[in-house]
């Protein structure tokens, strides 16, 4: 077999009434409890009981109706003709149970077009079912770019901003902070336009709202001129890289690192603006490194000292990976290996101390091989943003999708909480209202907006009833 040049890289491193009635009859009548006569919008959905699952396969549901409206008007009609619980689905990249419902699930995948670009105002307006990557390509064709991008770019705009999805960069906020206007369809079908400059309070509630206020159908975001980035990936002993992390974060537009458990090494990744013409597309070695780490675990997992010794003998600390190209081609990547994940956001001043405790706990488990990810995120003002009023670092711990994952919650929640962490809304946690209300100073304000927008709580599934204490 051929071998590629040595490289290290990122996380891989390592459906008329008649039709509905027919569906209902075929399924035993459950839909009759959910849909009023006269519904037309759902006729366009191709099937009824199909199974939905998230990317990792951990979260699954078989909704009575899985609708894919092709327009905001169709969505309005659907909502007006539907009773019972209804949840939006994005791209299925949340590990928490934000999506599952036995009643009505709505995907906005067909609302996926750019509505308009205003180069004077430097904004783009897009339908909220558009995926981040698709928007980035459309922007690039116009000489524009998103300010930052998350690790993967298949999330829908609505899903990404509703869960506080972020990238890395000490001076760069999460995606939702660039949203200046949005259209939201309430569960009763009413359309609400939210503008940051006209109603900053409502916008602060809507930016990170877990799909609990309504269906976001359109988003207007700030954009920047298109730019190239240069990537440099390197290996460094863990303690040494942790010590240098604040300086590296201050110096580089994007900086993050991955701790390679049971090796003593970490992989640093930095991206800076590149103005040269010597472009080179990334050739990520992440999956290769992940395979290496897994094999090391499989062979030597029961002997942690030998495992570490072997890794240190075999790892070449001088290996690097370089790439230089458009920002959207470098900041996000495709993750071939499925995993489950927890991620918490720590106050920046406590994050590295917390990291050391998390790494020690992680390495107390011989089965661990997935790299741990550490990133930087600037503060913002959204009421339910995990970055509300404080600059943060995030610590993400992963487990292969076909392996045990409960320890991601059981082992690390106490450590993260001791350091005033807030959990990522889309990543594994078991917190409920009692804990969350203490973490978010505007919690009560958000709940007041939520009850005003959805007084019957139809947008709450089991998970959100736990989060908002509406059981």
């Amino acid at each position: 077999m051929t071998r590629q040049p040595p490289s290290t890289s990122r996380r891989q491193l390592l459906t008329g009434t008649a039709a509905l009635a027919l569906f209902d009859a075929l399924r035993g009548g459950t839909l009759a409890q959910l849909v009023l006569p006269g519904a037309q919008a759902q006729a366009s959905t191709p099937s009824a009981q199909r199974r939905w699952q998230n990317w990792s396969g951990l979260q699954q549901a078989t909704p009575a109706n899985w609708a894919t409206p092709a327009s905001e008007a169709e969505l309005q009609q659907l909502l007006r003709s539907t009773k019972g619980e209804v949840r939006p689905a994005g791209s299925g990249h949340s590990f928490t149970a934000l999506v599952p419902t036995h009643a009505t699930l709505v995907s906005l995948d067909r609302l996926s077009n750019v509505v308009g670009i205003d180069k004077a105002a430097m904004t783009v307006t897009a339908q909220a079912g558009m995926r981040i990557g698709a928007l980035a390509r459309a922007l690039d064709a116009q000489g524009l770019a998103l300010r930052n991008q998350p690790d993967v770019d298949v999330q829908t705009l609505a899903g990404a901003i509703s869960t506080g999805t972020h990238g890395t960069g000490a001076q760069l906020p999460a995606l939702h902070d660039d949203v200046i206007a949005l259209r939201l369809v309430k569960v009763d079908g009413e359309v609400v336009e939210v503008h940051a400059d006209q109603d900053p309070q409502l916008m602060a509630a809507a930016r990170v709202s877990l799909g609990s206020l309504g269906f976001i159908t359109q988003v207007t975001m700030r954009v920047v001129p298109a730019f190239n980035l240069a990537r440099h990936v390197w290996l460094q002993p863990v303690d040494s890289l942790i010590n240098e992390a604040p300086k590296l974060a201050a110096r580089h537009r994007h900086f993050e690192f991955y701790v390679l458990p049971h090796t003593g090494y970490a992989a640093g990744i930095r991206h800076d603006v590149h103005t040269g013409g010597d472009l080179m597309l990334p050739k990520p070695g992440d999956e290769d490194v992940l395979g290496d780490l897994k094999m090391l675990r499989d062979w030597l997992g029961r002997f942690p000292k030998l495992r570490r010794w072997a890794a240190q003998q075999a790892i070449d600390p001088n290996m690097t990976e370089e790439a230089r190209h458009r920002s959207f081609r470098l900041l996000s990547s495709v993750r071939p290996t499925r995993f489950n994940e927890t991620e918490w956001h720590l106050p920046r001043e406590r994050a590295l101390t917390c990291l050391k405790e998390v790494v020690a706990k992680l390495e107390s488990r011989n089965e661990v091989f997935f790299p741990l990810e550490f990133r930087f995120i600037r503060r913002d003002e959204a009421w339910l943003s995990p970055f509300h009023d404080r600059d943060c670092c995030s610590i993400a711990v992963h487990a292969a999708a076909d392996e045990a994952w409960a320890y991601l919650i059981d082992d690390f929640t106490p450590i993260f909480r001791a350091h005033q962490g807030r959990p990522h809304w889309g990543k594994l946690h078991r917190l409920g209202q009692a804990d969350l209300a203490k973490m978010y100073p505007r919690w009560a304000d958000f709940q007041a907006v939520r009850r005003r927008f959805d007084p019957q709580g139809r947008l709450l599934n089991a998970h959100l009833r736990q989060v908002f204490d509406q059981a």
Binding site: R3, Q4, L14, R50, A134, W299, A314, R335, P336, R338
Partner: protein, 131 residues
Amino acid sequence: MSVFQEMPLFPLFRSTRLVAGLALVAALAACQERPPEPPTDADVLAADTLRPARPELAATYERSCMACHGVRSAAPLTGHAASWQPRLTQGMDTLLKHTREGLRGMPAMGLCPDCGEQDFRDLITFMSTPR
């Protein structure tokens, strides 16, 4: 052939200092089937410009498939014959099953909840057609 078998082993580690057990794994791996030639930068940039002729299918491709099949990734690259050949040998029915149920990094339904079987057939055929 699994994804892992298609991957080169131990790029993280320098081969001259492998411990004996790890070296044995590497030696065994050397006996495995040769993986397809990976796409070049030119192949990846060419895939950027490829779209199905039918506008509706092109729109679906752009919103659902391109994020993984239009870039350099473990997913077979659109128009890159070498990447698709091992998949095509499995037969269309198998590819459809993998698409519906998900496989490795690919989500179930391929990020297209509104796609029917014919849509999937057309998309697979488009992506696997050599450019």
